[in-house]
Structure formats: C-alpha cells, structure tokens
Symmetry: C2
Subunit: 608 residues, 2 copies
C-alpha cells in the first residue's frame, strides 16, 4: 500500500491485482488504461518529428524552489501569499516514516522467514511447472504462426547513449572521420583552433594504426570491482579529448560526431525492425543551459528514430561539482535539473525545442557507483537541499527522494496540461547498501540491475508482489560486480519477478555487432533458457519500456495492459498462454495467502 | 615416437621440437617446410576456380582392395605377381601392438601420477604467468598497430556443411523459395513430379506461417545426452522431405537449394574478410557414384569460395546400410569411399571434375555418436573388412584404422604425383570410450572435441607434448554432452594444449548471424579470456586448418611454421611474444625433463 501510494502520486505503475488483493477494496472500476503512464505516440510517417509548431500556450505560472522541491504558483499574488498551485506536494516526513517502516519490515525475523520460504516455494513451483508443461508450452509456440523469438519485439531497457555503439563501431568511426576530414577544426583551446589532425598529433598517434586494443574502451578482468577503472574506459585511448570529441553532446562541433554514431546505431535498429532501445543521455545539473543545449543537439542533428526513446540520467556527482566550486548547494543542482522542465511545461511557446525533445524523453535515471559509501544518514533531520552546501555528497536515498519529489510534481503539472509524464528508472541494487532498494521500492517505477535483491528475501518478495520491472545486464555485472554464473537473473525469472535483459554498455562489454542479441544468446546458452523464457523476457522488456500505449498495443496486443493471460496475445508475443496462466495463478495465490492472513488478523483483533 | 611414425607416414604434422628432444636425434637439417602437408593454394583472382583443363596424364596404375586397404599396382603384370607399387602400406599387426602399448601406458599408475602432476604444474605455471605478465602482454598488443582481435584471421575448424547456416537463415531461405517458385518441380515420387507447393501442402503447412519454433531445428534442453534427438533436428519441421530438399547435395534439383544457402554463408564470410570456414560434407560409402556426384554439385553450382575449404565426413553407419542390404560388407563401404579417389589420382584426365574438387578438399572426418557402444573388441584377430559382413557396426578404432590406412596410402600416391594430400581430422573424445583418443593419437592429424582428455591425464599430457590440435565447440557440447561451465577448454588452453574454437552446427546451437563470433564472445565472457587468449586461439585455428602454406604465410607471417616465438608475427596474429615465449619455454622444459629422465635411465641400464 505504501508503494501504491507513491506510484499513484507520480503516475507510476502498480499492478491492480496486487492492489485489489491487499487493499480489501471493492472492485476498482476505473478503466485500466487510465492508470497507464502517458507517453507521446511516435509521429506518423508523414509527420515531421522535428516540427516546432503547435506548442501549447503559456500558462503564466511561476516556479520557485523551496526545500529542494519546485513549487508552482498560479500568479504573482499567489506566490506572495505562498499559496502554491493545487498539485500534490511530497512530504519529507512521510517519506522518512515510510522508509523506516519498510526498513523495519525487511529486518523483522518472522517476515524474513516467511518471505524466504515463499520465494523458495516459488522457485520449486516453477521447476515443477517446467517439468510438467515444458513440452506443452513449446507445442503452443510451434503452432503459433509467423511469430518466433526473432520477430518478437525486444527493448534494450538499459543502455547508456555514450556507450551504445560497440568498440569496433567507434574505432571505425574515428578512422573514418580522420580519413575524410583531417583538417576540420574540431576544438578550440585558449582561442586557438585545433584540427582533427592536430588532436591526433598531440596524442602522438596515427588513427590508421589504431586498434580496439589501443582504443582500450573494453572492460576486462582489470575492471572487476573497480568502478573507477571502468569509468575511465569511457576515454578512448585514455584521452579525455577524444571522449569530448566523439562521445559528448556539447563540444566545439555541437556533438556532431556523437550524433552521427548514435544515428548509425539507430539505423541498425530500424533495419533489424524488431529491436528497440532506450539510450540514456546525461544532464549533470551544473547549469540550466544543459537542457536547451541537449534539445538543440537532438533537433539540429536530427537524432530522432522510431526505434529509440530517450531517458535522462543524472550522475550523482554533486561533490565533484561542489569541490570545483561549480555549484553553491545541492539545491542549485536540483534547480538546474528541474527548473527548465517546469518552465518548458508551463510555457512551451518560449521553449519550443525543449518542449519537442521532451516528447521523446520518457524517464529519468540516477547513476553512479553505488558501492561508494556515504557517511550521512538520511532522515527528516537532514539539511534541506538549499542549505546542503558541504562538500560531502548526499547519500543515495537523499538523491532518490528529491529526484522523485520533483518528477512527481512535474508529472502532475504535465498531466494537467495533457502532456506526457516521466518514469523514474534509477540504477539500483548493482552494489552498495540494501537500503537503496528500499528507496527505489518507494520512488521508482522500475529499476536497473537489482542484483542485491539476492541478499534480502523480504525486499525480493516485495519486488515480486509489486511486479516491479528490473532491467538486468548480466554481461555488465560479469565485468564489474558479479560473475555470470552467479547472476540471479535466472532465479528471479523462475520465481516470477518482472525481469528484462539489457546491455548497459555495448562499447565496453560486447563483442558482436548485435549487442542485445548477444545478451539474449549468452543468457539462453549459459542458463539453457527455453524459447518461452526468452519471449517472456522480451515481453517484459516492452512492458517495462517507455514505448507508448499505441506501440505497446501494436507489439504486444490490444489488451497488453490487462494482467494475467488475457493481457497476452501469443500471436504478437510468442509467450505461451500456459506460462501466462501459471504466472498469474501463482501471483494470485501468493496474494490471497496474504490477504487471508490479514483478514484473520482483523477478525482476531475484533473478537479480542 | 609412435605418433611421429604414424604422422610421417601419412604426411601429418608432428612438432620438431618434441621430435628432437625425445628422439635423441642429431639436429634434423631438412628444411621445416618439407614436413608440411600439401594443400593447393587458392586460385588467383584472375584464374577460373572451376577450370577443368591441365589435368595430369593417366599413369595407368591398377588398384585393388585387399583386407580393407587399397593397393596400387604399376600394371597388369605386377598385379598378377601381387607386387604392389612401392608405397608404404600400413600393417594391422603393428597398429594393434602400438595401440596396446599406449593403452598400457595410460593405465600405468606411476605414469598417471607423473602426468597428472605435470598437468597441474602447467596450469599453475600459467596462472603465475598471467598474474605476472598480463599487463605486459596487453601493453604489447596495444602498441601493435592496426591489428586487433577483430582483424586477425579465424577459421571455423569444425562445422558441418548441412548446418552451417543459422536457423533464421534457413527459415528465410525456405520462405523465399516458396514465394518465388512455388510451382517449380522439386521432387519425383514414383514417377510423379511434385512441386514445391505440393511438398508443403502434403505437410499441411503454409511457409508464410513457418517460424523458427515450428522449424524446430534448434537444439534445446531436450537434446542433452540424446544424440538421437539431436540428429532428428536436422529435419526441418521434423520432415525428412525438407531435409532432402534443402540440406542435401543429391536430390531432384541436384542440391541447388543447399548450394545456394552455402554460397550465402560463404558470401557473408567473404564480407567479414577475416573469417574462414571448413565445412564438412558427407560421403557415405553406399555407392562409388557419391564422389562424382558431389564434385558435380560443387562445380555445377559454383560453390567455391576463397573463404572456405572442404572436409569430407564419413558417418560410421555401416550397420544401417548393411541392415537395409545396401552393402555386402564393410570392405565394400571402404572401397566406395576410397577407390574413386585413387582412380582420380591415377587418372585425373578421366575424372576431371573429381580431380578439380579434390583441390579444395583438405581432410577427412569420421563422424557419429561416440557414446554408442560396440561389442566388438578390435585386435589383429578382428575380421578383415572384406569379410566383415555381419550386421554389427565395427568399433570406433576399427573405423579409424582403416580410414587412416587408406588416407595414408592415398597421400603417398598423391605426393608422388605432386598432388595435394589430406589430413585425417576425426571427431574424437566427444563421448564414449577413452580408447577413441588412443586411436586418434596414432591416426589423426588433429581432432574435434577432445572433451574426454579431461578423464585421462596421460593422454592429455601426450596430446600436449605432441601439440595435437583440438577443435573445441563448447556451445555444441553444452547442448549435447557437457555443460558450458564444465567444459575443459579454458583449462586446456591454460595448460598449453593446442585448442581452437569452432561452431559445429550453427543451425542447431547459435542465435546470432555471426556464429563463430558468438562462440568466441561467449567463451570470452564466461571464462574472462583476455585479448591475447582470444588471439592465441584464433592463431591456433589457422594453424590447425587446411588453409594452404601461402595463405598461412599471409595470415600468420612468413615463418608461421617455425615453433616458438620466431614462428609468430605479432603484426599479423596479435599474439604477444611474451605469450609465445612462455609457451615455447614451457614445452621445452617439459620435454627436457623427459629426455633427461630417458638419458639417466639409459646410463643406468648401461652401467648395470
């Protein structure tokens, strides 16, 4: 019920089945479609995806940050009276109470035992299902015409744009630019213009000789448990100049090279027809100009692709900016990230480019090395963002709360105007403290990684009951935090958690041209996944993604948003109905156990 | 020394380093190049690869089979006098004595302990090498210009032609033929011509609806330890009609469909530029016509590709043919397999097509389920092939001896004429008895699989000392005989055995378009192989392959045939010299241990 509250407030998703079993509510009769997040359908083939016309009018609202959260006022008078627009505003105290409630739950002995046993039961039940029904499932798939694993839709639900091409692709691109335009000015240093040739001369290298070895962007044995080394792999040949030139949206060329590479990746997806991707682009929060610049990059280089939808990742590196004196407080960072979005939402007329770009943005991510420890304990006594001026980095939960809070207000404001809303999809549970998964349980629509659910049966069971989508990247984990064979993906899938497969960073982890297929192939081979397993994961990935309602209907079936087998159209998904029925029955069974227990407790309480 | 004898007789390869250490011989001064097998260099770009001119003249020799081995006679008189041409003819008794010698060796307690300890030592030594030199190796590779894992040559050393396309490719091809030529006559049954449409009608299916699921050629959990089920996966949709039509060289269309698909695969290899393949085509030995038919198929459909070299696989299914009364004796089967080759060698003028095709054939394979048990114990008392008329299948060692014996005579005859020779490259050690690996130790130039070397330290050590190439296919094993994580490839590589990576059957085991890259990628990911490891495997694969001397010089360096670091050209292979030096030193160290022990034994024997 706690998660449901947070989800509803932010237009995140919560399964109605779970809500109804646990809420004792009368049948919820609002149409299921209404609970769905709002994403813009892609422009029609005849429409111009970069059309800046028809931006809605200026509402004239005013926005002010207070305590790290943006408040909207209808007009100057209301601002003076401190009476904000009637949007739901999140409350820090409630949040910390809710957090501690769940923290108490996950450490409670009997609850741990109960969840542990139920999870074991779920796993054994699936094994049994597999033994009994494997052949029937396969028979169902065999008699399903024209649809197989290759032509079901798959979304790469977690991929960083700056590493979305594979290493060979980047190498080829660098060589190509050097061959075709060595004398082009590509940078400016202290007023001096620098050509591409000069860049490479200063690095003492000839791109002709460059190899994937000397490029050195691939993770290897050296990166295991070394996020720092991994991060520096983003620098081709170890040179940050090349990262700036080739992998950034803001540079002397206006991010042209990066845009061209991303478009090549997009083109390959369009060619493949059935593969989609949700690349994550960075907004750092150093300056409010980042947003208009990013939108301009997108429009100027025509980066739109029907097979891509965008996510904005915010690195948790306030401490670095503060140390460099780029930011006075954490509050300023939040303002830089969110204020431009509020302004573009209130007055799209004057922020046409950003307004347009936001149509293709479907969510936010919070990224960094989770294994970094923070000394600060987040509580309602923590300093508010506007007074967080120390050089210390706020902890994970603090970041998540303030990201969520602003997204929630923004979503409500946008919903009011009929604009698209955003999902919060942070990295969570890749490493570090288990409390991260508690924060995300409240604040996130879905998460990336989730490895550490392995360590907490209660949280794992909660993620199961709430069917929180988890984008897993076992090849990435294999190079960074957890060996492939120990990855819990197979186990999570068996138990019925809502997992999808994603690549994270093809540049650093993959060998073949088709990174997502490589990811699926290796999982299939190592864990001996059946076709039905693979198609279930692919279906999960589409559900988890920011593709629009219309696209999901096209890719998964008219009723995709319904829970259980009636939401599955095997002709589109190639997932056996036997499997869907098993999943739904199993979930209902777990839920009814819980609701029966709650009822009997209530009766005991009443009779005593 | 036993293996060396067999190798020299058949123009197989034996490392000179090992020969010199163990043979106490004075320095062998014959140029190293002379010991190399003879393969035709590929035709020059301006040459016609199908040119039937310039076949050498008829020598007029006569050939007769005696005791399962083909004997060559200079003329009729010599035949009457039973005086065969002066070629080395193998001797069954020597073979069985040698076999039993090695069998005694591998069960000898102290030898087992010794080998086991040396192998452990080799593995630990490599770990140490890795810890100390990993970064130096990588540094060497990074400073190696223009060469990386992607552009070193790789050969798929073990792949069955009938499964060389992936499942999606086969599916697409079937749909394409149906769309473009449904009314073409593709078969004849009891005099009635059958069109493609009728074939599918009789199977009650519309190819439009066909999927990889209904095609059902992919191995899955059901095939583990079930070679029978695996074999039936060669039938698309379970229909042998479709196998005949699409995957055979002999049928109503003269194997046109199969040829077209193989050429599509070849074209992809040519596009990739750095990948080569050695597909295995079947000769069954039912009739002597199989050879000319196969050669005609090759020439008529222009199947030649510079990126492919061919191997002939002979299935060990005499018992099936005998049961169907297609063959009177095992001797007849051998005759059907080898006589046409002798005739084409003696009189190329009258067998121009076969003569031409043999230029592109570089070896023989013996294939079938090794786990099938044979009751017969092979010895010099075993019935000779001409009197082997029972319905029982001869055992593995029997097959191998007679294949080897005939290849050996054939190679000597061909060498005399300046024609190319063949390598014997059987499947061995995939399953079944350990004695298979003993037979192959004598008779094979190199083997496929070799998994069971895991179980015999003595044999494993012998395979190491003799540096016998092993084409391993861990993904194939994963579906059939051994889980990926238990595959010994990594361990073999570490110890210094001469291993390469191969796909076996992309149609059945692989998911992506690039099966060989998938194989390398998965090995790299699961076992965390370094770039140097991968490039060492790739180099091994070229050495193992039937590519010609000229090509190997081009792909690996001028001196590729020299042992140790001087045989390595890092600019071509991207294998660090540190690695090569380590391998060579380690091998020499093992060998000098043995030769010292032998010397001291001799001295003891002399002084006593």
């Amino acid at each position: 019920m706690i998660r449901e509250k947070y989800a509803r407030l932010a237009y995140h998703r919560f399964p109605r089945t779970t809500a109804q079993y646990l809420g004792h509510r009368r049948l919820d009769t609002t149409p299921l479609e209404e609970g769905l997040p709002d994403f813009h359908p892609p422009p029609l083939p005849e429409e111009d995806p970069y059309c800046l016309e028809n931006a809605p009018p200026n509402l004239g609202y005013l926005v002010r940050m207070q305590g790290g959260i943006l408040y909207v006022y209808d007009n100057k008078k209301m601002l003076e009276r401190q009476e904000p627009h009637s949007l739901p505003y999140p409350d820090l105290e409630t949040y910390t109470v809710d957090m501690s409630h769940i923290l108490a739950l996950i450490t409670d002995g009997p609850t741990k035992t109960y969840c542990h046993r139920r999870l074991n039961f779920l796993e054994s039940k699936f094994s049994l299902h597999e033994m009994l029904n494997e052949m029937s499932e396969f028979k169902e798939l065999k008699s399903n015409p024209h649809r197989d694993f290759y032509n079901v839709r798959k979304v790469d639900t977690h991929i960083h744009a700056a590493a979305c091409m594979n290493q060979k692709h980047l190498l080829r691109f660098i060589k190509h630019t050097y061959q075709t335009e060595p004398d082009r000015t590509v940078a400016e240093k202290r007023g001096r213009k620098i050509t591409l040739r000069q860049v490479f001369d200063s690095l003492h290298m000839d791109p002709y000789d460059l190899t994937v070895d000397s490029l050195d962007v691939h993770a290897g044995r050296q990166t295991f448990h070394r996020f720092d080394k991994f991060n520096s792999k983003y620098n081709p040949v170890g040179a940050s100049e090349l990262r700036d030139l080739y992998l950034k949206t803001e540079n002397y060329l206006g991010g042209e090279y990066f845009a061209r590479m991303v478009k090549e990746v997009a083109w390959e997806l369009e060619e493949s027809k059935y593969q989609y991707s949700e690349p994550r682009l960075s907004i750092y929060g150093r300056s409010p100009e980042e947003w208009p610049n990013l939108a301009r990059w997108f429009i100027q280089h025509k980066v739109y692709s029907p097979n891509m939808r965008w996510i904005i990742q915010v690195p948790r590196i306030y401490d670095i900016f503060r140390l460099k004196k780029l930011l006075p407080s954490f509050g300023k960072m939040l303002e830089n990230i969110f204020l431009p979005l509020f302004e573009a939402t209130i007055n799209p007329q004057d922020h046409r480019e950003l307004h347009l770009f936001l149509k293709y943005v479907t969510g936010f991510d919070s990224v960094d090395d989770e294994s970094k420890h923070s000394d600060h304990m987040f509580s309602d006594k923590s300093p508010s963002p506007d007074v967080w001026t120390s050089e210390q980095n706020p902890p994970y939960s603090y970041y998540l709360y303030y990201m969520y809070a602003n997204i929630m207000v923004l979503n409500n404001l946008r919903r009011e105007r009929g604009l698209s809303t955003f999902l919060f999809r942070p990295h969570c549970g890749e490493a570090g403290s288990i409390t991260h998964l508690v924060s995300a349980f409240l604040t996130a629509d879905n998460i990336s990684h989730g490895l550490l659910l392995k360590k907490s049966p209660v949280l794992q069971y909660l993620y199961y009951l709430a069917q929180i989508p988890i984008a897993m990247s076992p090849l990435s984990n294999n190079s960074l935090f957890l060996e492939y064979s120990k990855n819990p993906l197979r186990e999570f899938l068996h138990k019925g958690l809502h997992v999808s497969l994603s690549t994270d960073d093809p540049m650093q982890f993959h060998y073949t041209k088709e990174a997502l297929m490589e990811e699926y192939a290796i999982a299939a081979q190592v864990w001996k996944l059946s076709t039905c397993d693979l198609c279930e994961i692919a279906r999960n990935s589409v559900l988890q993604s920011g593709l629009s309602h219309q696209e999901k209907q096209k890719f998964l079936g008219q009723n995709y948003y319904k829970e259980g087998p009636e939401g599955n159209d095997i002709r589109k998904t190639n997932v056996a109905q036997i499997r869907m029925a098993f999943r739904y029955e199993t979930l209902c069974n777990e839920l009814s156990f819980l609701s029966d227990a709650m009822k009997s407790e209530e009766i005991t309480a009443l009779t005593n």
